[in-house]
């Protein structure tokens, strides 16, 4: 397993990449993934927290990222001929590398140990 953190220009751009991983449609027309990776849309994450006064009122609004953020737990990626496991094609350019979990974690998994 590997964990990747990604930053897209828009939700639509992220969804296009996710759909390219594979999906099918059930008999009722509902889309479902045909891959075994776990994807979490974080959306426009908070870059700077809101400032709140002692009465609980917002003094300064939170600053949100203009980009759409996605975390992926990759399951069963195959190593290349050099034994290296990398992001699937087209994902590496959207990846971001941070220390620690950042704003989101997969329960019980250590991002620093599982990142590419």
């Amino acid at each position: 397993m590997n964990i990747g953190k990604y930053q897209f220009y828009s939700k639509g751009q992220a969804q296009t990449k996710i759909d390219a991983l594979g999906f099918s449609t059930d008999e009722d027309g509902n889309k479902y993934p045909t891959h075994s990776h776990a994807i979490v849309h974080l959306g426009n994450i908070v870059l700077e927290q809101a400032v709140i006064d002692e009465d609980g009122e917002i003094e300064t609004e939170a600053v949100l990222s203009g980009d759409w953020h996605v975390d992926v737990l990759w399951v069963g990626l195959e190593a290349d001929e050099d034994g290296t496991i990398d992001h699937p094609y087209g994902w590496k350019s959207k990846s971001v590398d941070i220390n620690g979990d950042g704003v989101h974690a997969f329960f019980g998994l250590n991002y620093d140990s599982l990142k590419f």
Binding site: S24, E54, A105, F106, F107, G108, S113
Partner: protein, 643 residues
């Protein structure tokens, strides 16, 4: 009637599991075991009624991790009721139930200390003329001990063996109630570290604290520590753990890391030059296994628990004093004072001395979709027990109003108009998990508790706040400590078992319930949708349904509304042969479709807790799946499904 246990080819009950498999009772050779995956941790309610992370293997291995442990009293006659036990010099005298420092260099002492250990000194200055004194351990003089009238506490690390007060100027002062107890037991403190009131304090020296031996080499641990200050390089030791520096560096606040041991010694080092405090250190052994099935005891007896992927958007689900929570002026939080639903002293209390909007405690999170599920554990401590509102913001209609009675043993709720569903689950020791799902489409959602009305002071313990977006019910608790956290989907399948499944005729028995009331599916198939026996719960409350597909031709669907039996389960038998297929539920035949549903040999070869194509996953609890490779009689089906 045949012995139905002997007749079963596969019998799966919640009895045993390994990482990656749910172990079947029959057959004993393992062919009936279900393959299981989730790829993350998850919590369950264990047989003792406690909320438990299934990856946890041990209790807290650290002794005295909150530095609150105190040893026995080391001073004799500290209240000076007799003129004994103390060595008095240069004018010091015991009389009238206290000791009198009288004149420069007057002093009194005992010698109970051991050099290198940490101690808590308590004493009372009854009177003073303003002259000065110091505390002495025989080697080091502590000049900064408080000297004003009153009771004082002073922590120090000894370099000698004395408990000695010594005047450093002309003085007439009386001291009483001298107490010295060892603190910081079980820890080795480096130079520059000392013990304070429930903390270990670093003066910025590049040294550390250790507890040895503690770890097992190559085992994995969840390590938690709370830091005050802004250390630039306070780390779990590189000699203790394999992980890189960035994965074991501590910062201000609560730190949680998962680390793998490369030594038996556990240590923390202040490699920066910053003053800081550390406390609440816990080291819990966990397994790296991420595919552990869950046997859940929420309703009192064990069931396999299967849930979808879900994220707890609340970023501090237990530490309500954290800045992630907004506390209005009349909401007061006290940390770690009540035994929580996980059995440890880590639940906070909220105190409302008044009522109104200024009592709010809340956290705002970005959401998607229209169904928002909020949940929290609550326990009554004192006060009226009424007017506890748990809601989305203070918006009318989107919350639940709670009332405790019987001194907190009973909790009832009144849901407001926009609440689609709510649940109050009774846990051990007067804890309740309250959850509700509301129809709410917005860019963000405010998880809010407050007291809108009432007088007097109300106190409640709270724990495990959870906000799940785009999901129609609250799933099992997902703890968070600084970031949102995602538990992944439980997936169970059993394939390559054609010899154990009836082909020309067969039967299957389920004892289960679902938390998803629409297409929560269990299937027996050839691995495709072309040949399958499908059982599912429909969108209609209490409606179960089934159909068979043979050579890509679907049968009609049998569906019926059937009430669940206690613990909200359903007992169902599906049987099929060359004459038709039949469904029995809760003691009766609910539908038949006459046609040839005999499959060619070795067609049906897998069971999935989903559709054959891995869509429509079953979500709920399973007590029993039993497969027969022959047709049960009607009386046997009725007997199996009778409540």
């Amino acid at each position: 009637m045949a012995n139905l246990l002997d007749e079963a080819s596969i019998l799966l009950t919640p009895t045993a599991y390994n990482n990656g498999s749910m172990l079947a009772v029959k057959p004993e050779n393992g062919d009936g075991d279900f393959t299981f995956s989730r790829n993350s941790a998850a919590t369950r309610v264990n047989a003792q009624g406690l909320v438990e992370n299934v990856q946890i293997l041990s209790s807290n291995l650290v002794s005295n991790g909150d530095f609150s442990q105190e040893g026995s009293e080391l001073v004799t006659n500290g209240n000076f009721v007799t003129d004994s036990d103390w060595l008095l010099e240069n004018g010091a005298v015991i009389n009238n139930g206290s000791v009198n420092l009288l004149g420069n260099n007057s002093k009194f002492r005992q010698t109970p200390l051991i050099s290198g250990k940490s101690y808590k000194l308590v004493y009372e200055v009854i009177s003073t003329d303003g002259g000065s004194f110091r505390f002495q351990d025989g080697v080091t003089a502590f000049m900064d001990v408080p000297q004003t009238i009153g009771i004082h506490t002073y922590y120090f690390k000894s370099t000698g063996d004395r408990v000695q007060f010594q005047a450093t100027s002309a003085i007439d002062a009386r001291i009483d109630n001298v107490s010295v107890k060892e603190v910081g037991q079980d820890w080795n403190l480096g130079t520059g570290w000392s013990i304070g009131n429930g903390v270990a304090i670093s003066d910025g020296s590049a040294t550390g604290i250790q507890q040895n031996p503690l770890l097992t080499i190559d085992s994995t641990y969840q390590i938690t520590a709370t830091v005050a200050g802004n250390p630039s390089l306070l780390v779990f030791n590189s000699s203790s753990f394999y992980e890189p520096l960035s994965s074991r560096t501590l910062s201000n606040g609560t730190n949680v890391y998962i680390l793998k041991a490369k030594s038996i010694n556990f240590g923390i080092t202040n490699a920066g030059a910053d003053i800081c405090d550390i406390t609440n250190i816990s080291v819990i052994e966990i397994t790296n296994d991420t595919n552990l099935p869950r046997i859940d005891y929420t309703d009192g007896c064990g069931s396999w628990l299967l849930e979808p992927q879900s994220t707890n958007l609340i970023t501090q689900s237990e530490l309500f004093s954290n800045a992630a929570w907004t506390k209005k002026v009349n909401a007061s939080i006290t940390s770690n004072v009540v035994i929580s639903p996980n059995g440890t002293l880590n639940s906070d209390t909220i105190t409302w001395a008044t009522s109104g909007s200024a009592t709010q405690l809340y956290q705002v999170k970005n959401i998607t979709g229209t169904s928002q599920s909020l949940s929290i554990f609550i326990k009554y401590i004192s006060g009226s027990g009424t007017n506890f509102r748990f809601s989305i913001g203070t918006i009318a209609g989107k919350g639940i109003n709670l009332t405790f009675t019987n001194n907190g043993a009973t909790l009832t709720g009144v849901a407001e108009v926009d609440v689609d569903s709510y649940k109050i689950e009774d846990y051990e020791n007067n804890w309740f998990r309250v959850s509700f799902t509301a129809n709410y489409a917005n860019s963000n959602c405010e998880f809010n508790v407050y007291r809108p009305l009432g007088t007097g002071t109300d106190v409640y313990a709270i724990y495990g706040a959870q906000l799940e977006s785009s999901i129609s019910y609250a799933t099992s608790y997902i703890p968070t400590q600084g970031a949102s956290s995602t538990r992944l989907r439980d997936i169970a399948t059993n394939s390559g078992i054609g010899s154990l499944i009836g082909q020309t005729e067969g039967s299957v028995f389920f004892d289960l319930n679902t938390t998803l009331k629409n297409y929560s599916v269990i299937s027996i198939s050839d691995g495709t949708n072309a040949n399958r026996v499908v059982f599912y719960f429909s969108a209609v409350s209490n409606q179960i349904a089934s159909y068979i597909t043979k050579s890509n031709v679907n049968s009609s669907t049998i569906s019926s509304i059937v009430n669940s039996y206690p613990n909200s389960n359903y007992k169902v038998v599906i049987k099929y042969n060359s004459i038709g297929f039949y469904i029995f539920a809760n003691g009766g035949l609910i539908g038949t479709i006459p046609s040839n549903y005999s499959f060619p040999n070795n067609t049906l070869n897998e069971i999935k807790l989903s559709s054959p194509d891995n869509s429509n996953f079953f979500e709920g609890k399973v007590k029993n799946i039993t497969v027969y490779n022959q047709l049960l009689t009607d009386s046997e089906a009725i007997a199996l499904t009778t409540i």
